[in-house]
Amino acid sequence: MDFDLTEEQRLLKDSIDGLLTDCYDFESRKTYMKEKGGWSKAVWGKLAEQGLLGLPFAEADGGFGGGGVETMIVMEALGKALVLEPYLATVVIGGGFLRHAGTDAQKAAHVPGIVDGSKTLAFAQLEKNSRYDLFDVATTAKKKGEAYVIDGEKFVVLNGENADTLIVTARTKGNRRDTTGIGVFLVPANAKGVTKKSYPTQDGLHAADITFTGVEVGADAVLGNPDDSLALIERVVDEARVALCAEAVGLMDESLKTTVEYIKTRKQFGVAIGSFQSLQHRASDMFVAAEQARSMSMFATMAADFENAKERSNAIAAAKVQIGKSLKFVGQQSIQLHGGIGMTMEAKIGHYFKRLTMIENTFGDTDYHQRRVADAGGLV
């Protein structure tokens, strides 16, 4: 039983916090947002220089052999600084598929580019009617000799605009909501038949809706079993949920800190509004919510390595529920305690609120995961 970071992990935390303090103040973020695809190539290069983009990959594959705790540290820091760069899409999700299912050739083709920052990835999974069910896949991948032909539409693909490679879920067999017959494919973003419609998202990131029309890929594009990869998808998305939990903890920490600072300085009736008990109690409840979230983020980080997939999923679902409840409370009350200024685009607190809110609606919301836990027999 040990909740402390190792010496190396503390150094990692210090180095990423230091990097982001130097290059990621709120004003700089606004300029990064205006670059193509909505994030800064220069910052991405700095993350690569510090080895952060290769963190979770095995040393044999050119990475640094980091585990879940290392990713948690990075995601918390990225959340705290409200970072736009596609770490989740590229390193956590894209990297996750390559780590868990990539052949040596696939890793050799993709990992070095991720690690050195020259290539980014995106996960094309969401469909018009799939909502949060990962097995609900209408996009098809039909076998044609050794090759596959992909047809379908994917939505809200984060980093879809800039990604060099798309990781696409598509059905090789069966009907839309069957749990078998789902494959995962590495598709070059510039492949013939790929069309993209890009747009900014509510939280300042960029995403794309992507249509696949007769997109042909070779056998070397298949990640894992083309006919039965739901377990793989669930595993990687579980890791993405864990990463989102950590990001949310960082966002909540900074939201609470910013809000407490604000009510200490904002004066009304001749005194700091933080001297009013109603506001003190609200801030205390925000603290409680944030601490409960932190506990579950740690729990989820550990659970990602559970051998039993059902227990892993159940624990991570539980964490996403707690994070969802906490982030809604902390986010909303941060705005409330800021008053009018919290409503403006000019103040940074609203941008934290918006990112938190989008996390709630990514890879399953509170209700969705609460139902999963309930249907799995609870969490005893």
Partner: protein, 396 residues
């Protein structure tokens, strides 16, 4: 970071669990599961079993009969005790006055009181709250005047838990009226059968009598019954209240209750099928289980921190334990009410000794719900806890 228990810790859990299995009287366990009150005999019998095993005062320093366990072992012991369930050691003796005596008392006091506390030869009660001093405890008025080698004590205490069983009371008394209110308080102990002590029961909304008013009318107490220094009582009280930071979450109690809810919800029908099959109920239950898991982890963070850095530096997360722990305890009693539905209503006029078998599983559910409203009030109300977080953690 590694949240798994070590092999040794797991073996310890097994040892504790099997001791409870073999030694907790079955009737005592059943009464606790059903939310009944235990008789004085039942409690004392169990505590003496625990003391004989050497676990009655587990967290005391070893020279006074403690076990020398790590903070994780204490955590495991408490969790197993609460979730078996078995009665917890009498907090007023073992967790409150005991540590004050071995920390601030003189040798004679240690020799006189500690073994009797450990074996519950004396049942202790706590004389802190007064009618006019609840959350503002330091405003207390009960007066101890020194006359020669005696104290003369006058005043009134209230919410004195199980004073009807008590042999001894530890009492905060005002000994200096001119000092700042926190500075003029002393910590004095005396027998409940002293002349001039009157106990009047207070019936609470659950119908039970757990708490009392205690009146002092010219009670004569030997001067040497003062613990520590005169007018330093407030420091000792703060020490005493800060001692049991992690136990207050009562995670094991809530775990046990959630198991009972699952069990009952599989039996009680709603709409022609067990209520556990009702999606809305099931999700509410899951929501509570998730909150409890988060609290358990928060508690473990505090425990691990204490193990590493000692008890001196409170972890900010510890402030969360009282608020969340009490809210979850209350939610579990609400869920039990929901499970039994209309059968919450009948009131067992025979009391809660278990003699009325027709009502053996329903009778205590509503009273337990009513009774558990107290948990967000006692031990520093949840509003006081929020004040503490605002001030000590957030710097507001």
């Amino acid at each position: 970071m590694d949240l798994a228990f070590t092999k040794e810790e797991q073996a310890f859990r097994e040892e504790v669990r099997s001791f409870f299995r073999d030694n907790v009287p079955p009737d005592t366990r059943r009464k606790l599961v059903e939310g009944r009150h235990l008789s004085k005999d039942e409690m004392v019998t169990w505590w003496r079993i625990l003391n004989k095993k050497g676990w009655g005062t587990s967290h005391w320093p070893t020279q006074y009969g403690g076990t020398g366990w790590t903070s994780v072992q204490h955590y495991i012991f408490n969790e197993e005790l609460q979730s078996y369930p078995a009665p917890q050691p009498l907090a007023f003796g073992v967790s409150m006055v005991g540590p004050v005596i071995y920390t601030f008392g003189n040798e004679e006091q240690k020799k006189k009181y500690l073994p009797r506390i450990a074996n519950v030869d004396d049942w202790w009660c706590q004389g802190f709250s007064e009618p006019g001093s609840g959350s503002d405890l330091a405003s207390l008025k009960t007066k101890a005047e020194r006359k020669g080698d005696k104290w003369i004590i006058n005043g009134q205490k209230t919410w004195t838990t199980l004073a009807q069983h008590a042999d001894m009371i530890f009492c905060l008394c005002r000994t200096d009226n001119n000092a700042k209110k926190q500075m003029g308080i002393s910590f004095i102990v005396f027998p409940m059968k002293s002349k001039g002590v009157t106990v009047r029961p207070i019936q609470t909304i659950d119908g039970g009598v757990e708490v009392n008013e205690v009146f002092f009318d010219d009670v004569e107490v030997p001067y040497e019954n003062l613990i520590g220094e005169e007018n330093k009582g407030w420091d000792y009280a703060k020490f005493l209240l800060g001692n049991e930071r992690t136990g207050i979450a009562r995670v094991g109690v809530s775990k046990e209750r959630l198991r009972r809810i699952r069990d009952l919800a599989g039996k009680v029908e709603s709409g022609g099928k067990p209520i556990i099959q009702d999606a809305a109920f099931r999700e509410k239950l899951a929501a509570c289980e998730i909150e409890l898991k988060a609290l358990e982890l928060t508690q473990l963070r505090v425990v691990a921190d204490e193990g590493k850095h000692g008890k001196g530096k409170p972890n900010p997360a510890s402030s969360v334990l009282k608020i969340k722990g009490s809210e979850i305890q209350q939610t579990t009693t609400e869920l039990l009410m929901e499970v039994i539905g209309p059968f919450a209503a009948p009131y067992d006029v025979h009391g809660d000794d278990g003699s009325n078998e027709a009502m053996d599983w329903t009778a205590q559910i509503a009273p337990s719900y009513f009774n558990n409203r107290k948990v967000s009030i006692y031990g520093g109300s949840n509003e006081i806890q929020r004040n503490i977080i605002a001030k000590a953690v957030l710097g507001l």
